[in-house]
Symmetry: C2
Subunit: 314 residues, 2 copies
C-alpha cells in the first residue's frame, strides 16, 4: 500500500464520529492546562481505565505528564464555545471560565454531559502522540445531549429510527406502536430530517468538496469578505478545521486571503453557487407538489419551533 | 473517591458518543473473526496509528492477537444489522455477509463510511481489555453518514447550527446569509428538531429512566409481550444494551420475563405511560396555537417526506 498521506488519512478518520472532550490538569508547579480532544475512549471497566492521546508538539504535554491527575470533561451540545476556547492558543484559556477543582488539581467544567477524574495511570508510546491511560477515581453523569465531531464539523445526535431492521413495517401493517409513533411530532420531525438528508447528502457530495469545505464556501458566498475569527462565529467548525478547509479551498483556487480577509475567487463563487443550486433545486423538487399556502404553513411552524428555543445554545 | 461501580461507570461513559466499527481479522490458521467495537480512535498521523480495545474474555481475542493484520470497518447509519450481527455470539458471523479480503486476511465490509487496513503494531495492557495499536497500511474514505452509539442506543448525526456562538444573531439583524438559511428547508428542519429536543429531553429525563430504558419501556407499552429477539427489531439498540436495560427495568420492578417473553408489570406500564404522557403533553403544549388545518398540513408534509425515502435503511 506504500506511503500513507497524512492529510487523506486524517480526512478518512473524520468519518468516525466522536464526542468532544476538554482534558484538564494542574502540574506540581501549579501550571494549569486544558486542551480539546476527541481521542478519548473507554478501556476497562474493572479497573476503571480510560485513555486519550496528546500531540507530542502540544505545549500542554509536559503539564499533563507532570501532573498526578487529569479530568475528562465530555462537552454538551451547547458547549461549542468551550470546545473552541480550549482548541486554540491563548494567554489564559481559563480566563472568564467558571470551574471547580477536581481530584489532584484537575479542573471540572460546569454543565458538561459527563466528567471523569483520573489518576495518571500510565503513558504509552503512540507515534507522534503520547497515549495517556487514566484510572478513574470519580465521575459525574449528567446525561445532557452531547456535542459531536464528524468530518471536521460540530454536530449533534439525532435519534435513530426504531424500525431500523424492517424498513417497510410501517407501510405493510400498522401496529398500535406504529400508530402512536405516527402521531408523535418528535418522531415525525426526526424521521423527516433523516429521510431528507438521505436524499440530499449524496447530491451535495457530488460537488467534490468535503463537508467542512462546503460549509465554509457556502458561508463565504453570503459575505464580501471575512476573517477566520468571524468565520468561527458563523460556521460550526473548530479553528483547526477552518484552517485546513481554507488551505484546501486555496489549493483548489476557490479562495484567497488578502491581509487576513478571506473571500471566494470567481471559481470559488461558481463552486459555492453550484452547491447552493444543488440545495435549492433539491428543495424545489421535493416541495413542488405543495401549494404555496401549504408551504407557508409548514415553514411558519418550523420557524416558530426554532424560535421557541430561548437560546439555541442551551 | 473509593470504589467505582462498574455499572454506573459504564453508563457515564455512554455520554461520550462514538461511531461504531466492526473489527475483523484472520489468524495464521485461517480462523476468521469480526467483532463490533466503539473503542476505536486515532492515535498518530505520522506514522499512521490507530487503536481499539478488546475484552480479555472475548472468544475472538486470540485470533486478533495471532493475526498479522486487522481491519476497521466504520459503519454507516444504515448498517445497524451489521452492527448487531457482529455484536452477538453466532456460529458463523460471516454467513450471508458479502465482503472482500483486506491486507493480511482482514475483512472489508461493503458500504461502510470508511475502512482502515492495519498491521498489528503493538498490544498494550488495558486492565480487563487488551489495547491493540494498528499501523494503517491502507484505507478507504466513503464519506457516508455514520452510525452512532450514544447512551446505549443507536443514533445518527444531525448537523449543528452554524450560528452556534451568537444565538440571537438571526433575530437581531438578518444578514443575507441568514435570509438564505431561513429559506432553506434542510436548515429549518434540522434546527426545528434541535429546538424541539432541547425542550423535550429534559422533561423525558425527569422520569428517572435512562434513554435506553425509556426506549425499551415505550416499545413494550405497545405490545402484549415480546422476546428479546423481537425487541432487537423494534428498538435501535444492540442486544447487549437490551440485556442491560432489561435487567435495570427488572430491578425497578417495571418488567418481568416469563419463558423468554418480556412484558411490563403494572408499575412498569404506569412508568411507561408517564413517559408517553410527557411526550404527548409536550406536543399538545407546543402545537396548541395552531388550527387543526395547519397541523394536518404540517403532519402531511412530514409524513410524505418520510415516505419519499424508498428504504429508511439506505
Amino acid at each position: 500500500m506504500g506511503q500513507i498521506d497524512p492529510k487523506a488519512f486524517r480526512r478518512a478518520l473524520g468519518n468516525f464520529a466522536t464526542g468532544v472532550t476538554v482534558m484538564t490538569a494542574t502540574d506540581r508547579d501549579g501550571n494549569r492546562v486544558g486542551v480539546t480532544a476527541n481521542s478519548f475512549n473507554s478501556v476497562s471497566l474493572d479497573p476503571a481505565l480510560i485513555l486519550w492521546s496528546i500531540d507530542r508538539r502540544s505545549g500542554s504535554k509536559e503539564v499533563f505528564l507532570n501532573a498526578t491527575h487529569f479530568a475528562v470533561n465530555v462537552l454538551a451540545v451547547d458547549q461549542i464555545n468551550i470546545s473552541n476556547n480550549f482548541a486554540r492558543p491563548a494567554e489564559d484559556r481559563f480566563a472568564g471560565i467558571e470551574f471547580k477543582e477536581g481530584a489532584g488539581g484537575s479542573v471540572l467544567l460546569p454543565n458538561c454531559a459527563a466528567s471523569f477524574e483520573c489518576e495518571l495511570h500510565e503513558t504509552l508510546d503512540g507515534g507522534d502522540h503520547v497515549i495517556l491511560v487514566g484510572k478513574v477515581v470519580g465521575f459525574s453523569d449528567n446525561g445532557k445531549p452531547p456535542l459531536l465531531y464528524h468530518q471536521g464539523a460540530y454536530s449533534a445526535v439525532l435519534p435513530h429510527p426504531g424500525h431500523a431492521i424492517d424498513p417497510d413495517s410501517h407501510k405493510k401493517e400498522a401496529s398500535s406502536c406504529d400508530e402512536r409513533l405516527f402521531d408523535n411530532m418528535h418522531y415525525l420531525l426526526t424521521q423527516a430530517v433523516r429521510a431528507y438528508q438521505n436524499e440530499y447528502y449524496p447530491k451535495q457530495l457530488s460537488s467534490g468538496l468535503s463537508t467542512s469545505e462546503a460549509r465554509l464556501a457556502m458561508v463565504l458566498l453570503g459575505e464580501h469578505g471575512s476573517t477566520k475569527e468571524e468565520m468561527l462565529k458563523e460556521v460550526g467548525m473548530p479553528m483547526r478545521e477552518i484552517n485546513i478547509a481554507v488551505e484546501a479551498l486555496k489549493l483548489k483556487g476557490f479562495l484567497k486571503c488578502v491581509e487576513g480577509t478571506l473571500s471566494l475567487t470567481e471559481e470559488g463563487r461558481a463552486a459555492a453557487g453550484k452547491l447552493a443550486s444543488i440545495a435549492s433545486n433539491h428543495q424545489t423538487e421535493v416541495f413542488k407538489k405543495y401549494t404555496s399556502e401549504e408551504i407557508t404553513v409548514f415553514k411558519k411552524i418550523l420557524k416558530e419551533l426554532i424560535d421557541r428555543d430561548p437560546d439555541p445554545n442551551s
